[in-house]
């Protein structure tokens, strides 16, 4: 090993050997740091994207289920409807609280659903009692419209967040103390090894 390294420097002047020594001792660690930062950024970006997309998918599926339940409740004739008013409201509130749980995940990444839209959606679903078919249909259509808008708005906000400048991520999600410590230790070890090799070779 030492012979191999020494053979690399044969034929170089002292000045050239100094330059090579400089390159080996500084450029490589810098490359290690750059590589680490890039890997970390990609890993974070991937984790963020996958967490956001999963939350988005779950919200979408919950919104679909809400609309299914609302369709059954508002558009079925009373005698044929699977749900009583109490069961319908409990189901809707349950689904909505799960939507809000998932929305909190999105909120971490800056994907925020407007409070007024949430209120509008809740009102369209649980404010009124079932009455005349026309009013029931109007209620259902209003809920459907808001749900569709929510789908579109969440999807577009997630897409925007996915495309967000990665430098912002680096600033917001700085490396952990453990990561910095590990890289520091690796660098110290790296310098010590080189120091040892050069002492042996020259």
């Amino acid at each position: 090993m030492f012979e191999f390294i020494s053979s690399l420097f044969i034929g170089y002047t002292l000045e050239e050997q100094f330059t090579l020594r400089f390159i080996f001792s500084w450029v490589a660690p810098i490359l290690v740091i750059i590589g680490w930062v890039i890997l970390r950024r990609n890993a974070h970006s991937f984790a963020k994207r996958s967490e956001m997309n999963n939350a988005g998918k779950e919200i979408s599926s919950l919104l679909d289920r809400i609309i299914d339940v609302a369709e059954e409740y508002w558009l079925s004739h009373n005698s044929k409807c699977k749900y009583s008013a109490a069961v319908y409201e409990s189901l809707i509130i349950n689904f909505l609280s799960r939507v809000f749980e998932k929305e909190e995940v999105l909120r971490k990444y800056g994907v925020i659903i407007d409070v007024k839209t949430i209120v509008k959606f809740r009102r369209s679903l649980t404010l009124y009692e079932k009455s005349y078919p026309n009013l029931n249909q109007a209620n259902f259509l209003s809920a459907l419209k808001i749900s569709t808008n929510l789908h579109i708005s969440i999807e577009s906000k997630i897409n925007d967040a996915n495309l967000e400048n990665n430098i912002t991520n680096l600033i917001n999600y700085h490396p952990s103390k453990m990561g910095i410590l590990l890289v520091g230790l690796i660098l110290i070890l790296y310098f010590k090894i080189f120091e040892f090799i050069f002492t042996m070779v020259f």
């Binding site: 008013a85 109490a86 409201e89 409990s90 809707i92 509130i93 349950n94 909505l96 609280s97 809000f100 409070v115 007024k116 949430i118 209120v119 809740r122 009102r123 679903l125 649980t126 404010l127 009124y128 009692e129």
Partner: protein, 115 residues
């Protein structure tokens, strides 16, 4: 500062009228108005805590309980949510406060309706 925890009334409040069940908005409004009068007489304000209920509260319950305070002429909008309002809502979910304020804001005293 007086705090009233909605879960003391019920952890599963539901419905608008008495026919909807025991823990309906109309019954809660009666309790709420007593607590609010109490706060008002002491120049204090009432915090309604919504955090300990199980799933959540439906819109009809909220409208009847809070909007009903104005509709039934028990309080005015300003007394409840004006700059010196005596009603405050505590909830981790921001939409509850917004929704309750909307109901109070939209409510019209029943005698004045259509005038």
């Amino acid at each position: 500062m007086i705090t009233y925890d909605l879960s003391k009334f019920s952890t599963k409040p539901f419905g608008r009228y008495v026919k909807d069940g025991k823990f309906n908005g109309t019954t809660f409004r009666e309790i709420l108005s007593v607590k609010l009068k109490e706060a008002q007489s002491e120049n204090d304000y009432l915090i309604v805590d919504l955090d300990n209920i199980e799933f959540g509260v439906g819109s009809s319950f909220l409208e009847e309980a809070f909007g009903g305070l104005v509709r039934k002429g028990l309080f005015t909008k300003d007394e409840l949510i004006g700059s010196q309002g005596i009603l405050q809502i505590k909830s981790q979910q921001a939409f509850y406060k917004e929704e309750i304020h909307q109901y109070i804001d939209e409510a019209k005293k029943e005698n004045n309706q259509g005038s």
